[in-house]
């Protein structure tokens, strides 16, 4: 009864594929953008992972030097804080040792009028935005939740609930549009964070409203102990852009030059109204998640060793030295700049924090409630009794 025509045979179906397959969408994938080799040499254009018509210009020497200076400071801060935690002078510190190039590029690609939305890991990015180091460390020392005013450097709080900050970034871009302000917003997130529902909602809102937001994923291969293979089955995290109708790029996250180039272009395109964008930085968390973690429980030393070879500082240093841009004088100056920050951190953390327990009540609301006023009075009374007792005693 059914007409016999050119239809494939329903019983002996040979074709065993469905729709847009992995093979298909792997076709147009650009390589990973990289400009400086791991040993510090400039790669030729066709080694850079880009395709014709899609090449990136090299950042200027000054841009690279400024970035390198921040790398040196960032590394020093990471290592100083690590020590301070071990000495019990800081409560916790999630170090970005090994990821400094990504951290620094995320900050430097932006102008002061732009906004950055960082995570707990992104102390170095926040510092590179110009925020006062002592204020940044408040959180990790534990005297208050956050120590800087987000409005002073257009830098939001370092977010702990994973991925939530990406939605704040989107909202900030919406606010700017409403107010007629020109602004690019960069939101930071980890590889683990891409699995949260908020990641999806943030990218989708940004693309539906066509907002100038850059979603910058630092793929450092681990979410605490959980490896990347447990977060995604996609060929790269940058591929996630496709599902939102936005462009994505994968970049060597330990190559400051490539990072500045890629993020720089993303910022430019955003200013032209062509955002949002997703940028994945291929990097590695060299140390444990925080001091409370022990990375040897879940990964091999070999893997860590491999990544040591790809260190972002060494690479940029070699390159800039070879190019003659980084002089001994400059190097010495950067080191001493970094040392100054470290010293001020040590000094500050060595002193007792100034604490006012009544602060607990004074910032919960702009208009205080009678309930909190009563509780504040209770604590004030306890404190004065205590002071009295101490005084007597």
């Amino acid at each position: 009864m059914m007409s016999e025509n050119a239809q494939p045979d329903p019983t002996g179906e040979k074709v065993k594929r469905l729709g847009i397959s992995l093979e298909d969408y792997l076709l147009p994938t650009h390589g990973r953008i990289q400009m400086i080799s791991e040993s510090g040499e400039l790669l030729s254009v066709d080694e850079q992972g880009s395709t014709p018509g899609h090449e990136y210009p090299m950042p200027t020497a000054q841009e690279l030097l400024d970035g390198y200076r921040q790398l040196v400071i960032g590394r020093r801060v990471n290592d100083q804080n690590y020590a301070l935690v071990r000495q019990g002078r800081m409560a916790v510190y999630p170090s970005s040792h090994g990821q400094e190039a990504s951290e620094v590029a995320a900050a430097l690609c932006l102008e002061p009028r732009d906004w950055l939305f960082p995570t707990y890991r992104d102390t170095v990015a926040v510092l590179a935005r110009g925020v006062d180091p002592m204020q940044v460390m408040t959180n990790f020392r534990g005297d208050w939740h956050q120590g800087y005013n987000p409005h002073e450097h257009n830098t939001s709080v370092q977010s702990t609930p994973l991925t939530t900050q990406l939605l704040h970034a989107v909202g900030m871009a919406q606010a700017a549009r409403l107010k007629g302000e020109e602004m690019v917003v960069l939101g930071m997130v980890g590889d683990g964070g891409t699995s949260e529902g908020d990641f999806h909602e943030a990218l989708n809102f940004a693309s539906v409203f066509k907002l100038p937001v850059i979603f910058f994923v630092q793929n450092n291969k681990y979410a605490i102990s959980v490896p990347l293979s447990r977060q995604t089955a996609a060929p790269s995290l940058a591929h996630k852009a496709v599902g939102y109708g936005m462009a994505g790029e994968l970049v060597d996250g330990n190559d400051l030059a490539a990072l500045l180039a890629v993020l720089g272009r993303a910022v430019k395109l955003c200013r032209e109204g062509r955002g949002p964008f997703l940028v994945e930085a291929d990097t590695y968390r060299m140390q444990s998640h925080t001091n409370a973690d022990d990375a040897t429980r879940y990964r091999e030393g070999e893997e860590v060793d491999e990544w040591t070879q790809r260190d972002p500082l060494q690479r940029m240093r070699t390159y800039l030295k070879n190019e003659g841009a980084l002089t001994e004088d400059l190097e010495a100056q950067y080191t001493s700049d970094a040392e100054a920050v470290a010293t001020s951190l040590r000094d500050a953390m060595g002193q007792d924090a100034e604490l006012n327990p009544l602060d607990l009540f004074d910032h919960v609301y702009t208009v205080q409630t009678p309930q909190l006023a009563e509780q504040r009075a209770q604590l004030a009374e306890e404190l004065s009794r205590e002071a009295h007792t101490e005084h007597q005693g």
Binding site: H168, M172, A175, G197, D198
Partner: protein
Amino acid sequence: MSKDKSTLSFAAALNAALADEMSSDEMVVVFGEDVGTLGGVFRITEGLSQQFGEDRCFDTPLAESGIAGTAIGMGLGGVRPVIEMQFDAFAYPAFQQIVSHMAKMRNRTKGAASLPITVRIPYGGGIGGVEHHCDSSESYYAHTPGLKVYTPASVEDAYLMLRAAIRLDDPVIFMEPKKLYWSKAEISLEELRQEFNTRWAQVEAQREHGEPYARAGVARTGEDVTLVSYGPSVVTCLAAAEAAAKEGRSVEVIDLRTINPLDEATITASVTKTGRAIVVAEPQGFTSVASEVVARIQQRCFHSLAAPVLRVTGFDIPYPPPMLEKYHLPNVDRILDAIDDLQWDDTPVDFSTTSTAGGH
């Protein structure tokens, strides 16, 4: 506009409050699901996107965490967002954004970043809604420091309190009793506007009393017993008071208006006078706003109480299907039963077996 009183519905009052705030401050924006072209599934945002443009009243992708999360970013960016959660069970996907950020951002930054966000949530039952459409989630928000929780019970308050909530620099969870949307009052919008302006001028003058509607209302005065209630249950309490009056009992009814802050002074004054109190509220009673009010009354008014403070609340069950909701909701009979239980003579009543939900 004429000053003549005319019939104004609760929904229209909310709509007017939104429009008036959008007119007076162009940083006020409204967004959510179906709030744009459609004007909201309850028509509370009707006409706003037409009147103020699609930049200021718009639909988002369907994602509540996204709505709350972007509102936080906008608040940080100097905008004053008013967001709608379509039904209150559908605010749960936004729980993390609301509890971990909206409520805490100001405290976290020592006041540098307050978030002037209003989260409008239609709540409660009594409209024959199917599962997930009749939750009462105010207790979750009341338990969350950093949020304020408002809920009007009259057309006037719908207008006045929504405008106040939008102007407040703190995040306000604005709970709208669905079953009152179609209730009406003889009232002129123009008078309400003047009322609001007058009160707001007072607020401006005395900045520290910045919440003009954080005063409980005495919805009916009485001498024998106090019913403390809010939102959808206030009308039930008033009906119960009316019925009790016929039986010779004089019942005072208090409408909390704001759950946080809680106007304990008004409650305490009433219970000190009457010596008896029942808290009436729609959600499941366990660990609820009603529990809190009971706990406070028994402490504040200990020496005045002739009987324990009882509760008439919903049962501790998932909200029932439409055909069974009437068995769950606090009603006049249950309130009257609870009143009867309040130890009116000298024989001690055994309260140890009195129900903690239905109140008798």
